[in-house]
């Protein structure tokens, strides 16, 4: 177990972070290159004011017509994304590991809260799964990849929860937890999880078009 643990938490973690950060940079830079090469005009329409107006509006719960139309989804989606990002970043165990490696540490979530946030992520994944299966308009545009992505996102949190309680085979699950986290990190730039990178850009562009050219709301 020592060697497997050391491998997944050492070289493999490095690889995952390199692929994650490198992949994100690659995707963003190659998109910019594409803009530069073919759609330079996009720059001329981008407006900081309207980009931020749009991003802020769409980052505020219930601030848009469509969010008000789907209150349950709005609550779940916001809770999901907040917990998804904050929990791993401010988890005691994660910060402890980073402290041991790099002597860096920061504020951590109380364990009880982190536990609830983990459960929120898992529950939200279940909600999304049910939504995909039950809502005809979602089901129609769902492919296998959507389920795989959902599983990739849910896995680190499910295993993380089991590992926290040390249920089932702790050591195997911990290794699976680390592996699944690494898979998710690498998946971000190379799958549709890349909406983490691109959504602010598409939002900003649409916000700029609506604000600067169309003089209309985009919410």
């Amino acid at each position: 177990m020592h060697s497997i643990y050391n491998f997944v938490s050492g070289p493999l973690a490095w690889l995952a972070f390199i692929l994650f950060i490198g992949g994100c940079l690659y995707r963003l830079i190659s998109l910019m290159v594409l803009v530069h090469r073919k759609e330079k005009f996009i720059y001329s329409y981008m407006s900081l004011k309207y980009s931020l107006r749009s991003i802020f509006r769409w980052s505020t719960p219930f601030a848009t017509e469509n969010m008000r139309r789907h209150p349950a989804l709005t609550i779940v989606a916001f809770a999901f994304h907040i917990c998804l990002i904050l929990t791993p970043l401010f988890l005691l165990a994660h910060v402890t590991l980073i402290e041991e490696s790099w002597n860096l540490s920061w504020w951590t979530l109380p364990e009880g809260l982190a536990e609830i946030m983990t459960l929120i992520v898992v529950a939200a994944c279940v909600f999304f799964l049910v939504r995909r299966l039950v809502n005809p308009e979602v089901r129609y545009v769902t492919s296998v990849s959507d389920y795989i992505l959902l599983a990739i996102v849910a896995a680190p949190f499910i295993t993380g929860f089991l590992v926290y309680y040390q249920w089932f085979g702790y050591q195997t699950l911990l290794i699976l937890h680390i592996l699944s986290g690494e898979v998710m990190l690498v998946a971000i730039p190379f799958t549709r999880l890349s909406h983490m990178l691109f959504a602010p850009l598409t939002r900003a562009y649409m916000g700029s078009e609506f604000g600067g050219v169309r003089h209309a709301r985009d919410w």
């Binding site: 998109l31 759609e39 139309r69 089901r139 769902t142 549709r192 598409t202 939002r203 209309a216």
Partner: protein, 444 residues
Amino acid sequence: MTEAAVKEEKKITDEGLEVGVQNLTAERIQKVINRVLKGESGARLKAYVDTCVHCGLCSEACHYYLSHDKDPQYSPVGKVKQTLWKMLKARGNVSADFIKRASEIASTECNACKRCAMYCPFGIDIAYMMLTVRRICHLLGVTPLYIQDTAHSHAVTMNQMWIKDDEWIDTLQWQEEEAQAEIPTLRIPLEREGADIMYSVIGPEPKFQAQLLYQAAVIMDVAGVDWTMPATPGWDNSDMAMYTGDNEIMGRVKRAHFETAARLRVNRIVMGECGHAFRSVYDMGNRWLGWRMPPIPIVHAIDFYYELIQNKKITITEKFKEPVTLHDPCNVIRGGGLAEKARYVVNAICEELIEMHPNREHNYCCCAGGGVINCGPPYKMTRMDGNRIKAEQLFAAKSRGAKILIAPCHNCHSGLEDINHHYGLGYEIKFISDILYEVMDKPA
């Protein structure tokens, strides 16, 4: 002995599509798709396709989806799935029948109204993707016959309706004479270089809505506007080539239009109550030609009436009595931000405005725009079945007292006439200028 009623599914036959697909080969399809998706398209298409998480939240934005009892095939993303996703996944290796269906979806089951862009959390521009599909179909020669014909007309005559150069001048002079019966000094000044304003209209106005030219002339005359109209091709601001994906023709038509205005050395182009033409000169055509914004300022009729009324160039004798409701056309409201100005104008000329809901940027599409009505009679029922929600929306406004429906856009106007008739709504549909002309203070 009765047989169960079977809902009759009328198969649409469109020669443009039928004949078009016969000329396709697998190689040609693949070549064209890749030319557009890999060659012409860039970061936007890539970001849109890669960012979409298939959440389906755009569905409720679409009037087709709502009107078809939430049939997912009609949701915006559902239409992307049936067209672009497959093309991308198969790397262009799709059948001729697939192209035919893709053309039908993109050209007649989407009005490119961009309401869905306001519903997508990521601001993905699905209308842009549908127009990209139209572009592919255009390059493959699989475009609905009627709209293709108007695109041909643009290519040949620089106007939408095969109007000959002399017919155009003739029509203007005819309307000038007609109006002189009312205001003897009235002129429709042709080719007056250095005028402040060039007034531009769409092909159908001289073709069969000449009274609109009359009304415009009276409004201009009474307001004392320094205006002119061109006597050469380039007078038409409409552009169906924009909607078939024939960007090259769109560019030619728009260049002719702007160059005509430049030749006349006008300060501004004022246009009639048309939505798609506004989009073509303000959004798409100018961009194709390389102008960030129109090279000569474009003023839509709504904006122009607002200006005239606010500056008291036009005063109102007696407001229009009957309660009206206002349809917000996508291209000038969601595309031009004229929602409040439209209300200012309508309130200035009418006693009572009863809002339909939703309204402003969120108004339901007329289902005629985006070139759909221009695809002609084969698709009339596509529009009627595809916009039951509009009928419901209009009916609700009617039940609250609205009698007149104001539609300040040609496509909306025609499309709503069909809806009005098909669903028996009993509205009278008017342009703003119809009412403005009626209630404005004119020399006795």
